[in-house]
Amino acid sequence: MRPRICALSMMFVAIVGTDALGAEDWTLSLTPAFSYGRYQGSPTRESVTGGRLFLDAQYFERAGLTVGGDYANVNGKPGYPDIAQYASFLSGRASYVPDAVPARIGLRMDLHAVDNNDATNGTDQVRVLASRLSVSDLGGTVRMDVGYASSRFGRSATQPGNLEVRQWTPTAGFGLNGEQWLQLRGYFIISSNPVRSQGRDGTSALEVKWTYRPERKSDALLENVQLAFLLGERIYAVDGDSAAVYNLADLQTGAIALSTGWRVGRSTSILLGAGWEKYKTALARENVSYTSLYGFLALAGEW
């Protein structure tokens, strides 16, 4: 892990430069968030409670760093133990505008570490290295990116073999009329061990996100509305937008989420959201489908 962190910091210093040390050059934001969800039809899980704290530092349009941690507690059904999970996140990003083309090129690298007390050990000791290369026009009307994530999971106590997961996420985003943004992202996930991936050695899914950001009127509090849904199947996905690793060993077969951001001060905003996700899992050689309904609240303060 250490050489990767070292490479990340070297890349950051190379882009930002060593003169970028003045506090006023940086924009910092702190985002605490809380979530609660309930499972319906799950044979093993009752509910999940979570909290996270992210600190982000942005150096102009050139580069940024995010560090964060989150905690989740999955309450098991009677007879199934609770699972407590800790995840930490480190992300670096940089962008560059070449002279040759009127476009912004971005590079982002993320590290995730997820540890829990799952008795099977199958979802524990997850380490993810994810990267994303993006190109967007300077007017902010088109953006294309391609992401790659490599995940390693701990050795399972109940299922044989190692598990390594590779994920490709090509993405296209379009500005519709200055206030709307449509993003299409494909998830192409390859598992090294179908036994630990619900019998799948590969899954694919399409995520569609529509975001509405009204132009700021002097008396308006609404900052944005986002509607997202997922079509297809995916397992062990790494979601770069929400900095989340889906280390659950179940197949996700659909999702829909709605969130809204509200301005509560000059540099403070609240994000409220709710979502529904559908999963499939094999239990005692039978396929069981279940859903999860969740809500979250995040507060973002910038200074």
Binding site: V97, P98, R216
Partner: protein
């Protein structure tokens, strides 16, 4: 017209520029200005290379090199040279204002705004710095900030139309059609027939 006439003409103009530059003797400054006048920005910068490369670097050569790179569209090199000039003379407002040009061209609004604000910290009503900060505020769609800022600057430069255009745009985006209309009417007093103002007033009679 023969197909090779245009390249021949271009070459002839180039030769004439070079000859003029040569005629200006060994003075790199005179050569550089002449080449710039002819639109030969790369050559105009190149004659200053020895001054830029020397240690310590020649401050004005750096500034001119940066400007000529900006004119060529070599924005990253322009940023590099303006930054180098700023290191030579950290109090240089020329370097800071110059630096905003390639940053604005690359739509690096936050960074350009930072340098404009640094100029305003020592010279609060510097016209160029204020206008460039307004461009950043518009780029970042900070309409409230832009409206307030433009109104303040318009008080200091009441004859200026540019500032009033920014004020009008911001008020229009904020949904204050009446205030936008007032500002656009003032623009038309200063520039009769101003296209943007005329179009707005046609849509908002």
């Amino acid at each position: 017209m023969k197909p090779y006439f245009l390249p021949s003409l271009t070459f002839a103009v180039f030769l004439w520029q070079c000859a003029s530059a040569f005629a200006s003797g060994n003075d790199p400054w005179a050569q550089s200005y002449k080449l710039e006048q002819g639109g030969l920005y790369a050559q105009a910068a190149a004659v200053l290379d020895p001054l830029v490369a020397r240690q310590p670097p020649h401050e004005f050569a750096l500034l001119r090199h940066a400007w000529l790179n900006y004119l060529q569209g070599s924005h990253n090199e322009a940023v590099h040279k303006y930054t180098a000039a700023l290191k030579v003379n950290p109090r240089s407002l020329d370097a800071r204002l110059g630096l905003t040009l390639p940053l604005l061209a690359q739509q690096r609004w936050g960074e350009a705004a930072y340098h404009a604000k640094q100029v305003l910290a020592v010279s609060p009503w510097d016209y160029l710095a204020n206008v460039r900060l307004m461009i950043c505020e518009e780029g970042e769609r900070k309409w409230e900030d832009l409206a307030k800022h433009a109104a303040e600057v318009a008080l200091r430069y009441p004859a200026d139309a540019t500032v009033l255009v920014y004020l009008a745009r911001a008020e229009a985006w904020l949904g204050h059609a009446g205030k936008a209309k007032t500002a656009y009417l003032q623009v038309l007093e200063r520039i009769p027939g101003h296209v943007e103002a005329t179009n707005f007033l046609k849509r908002n009679p």
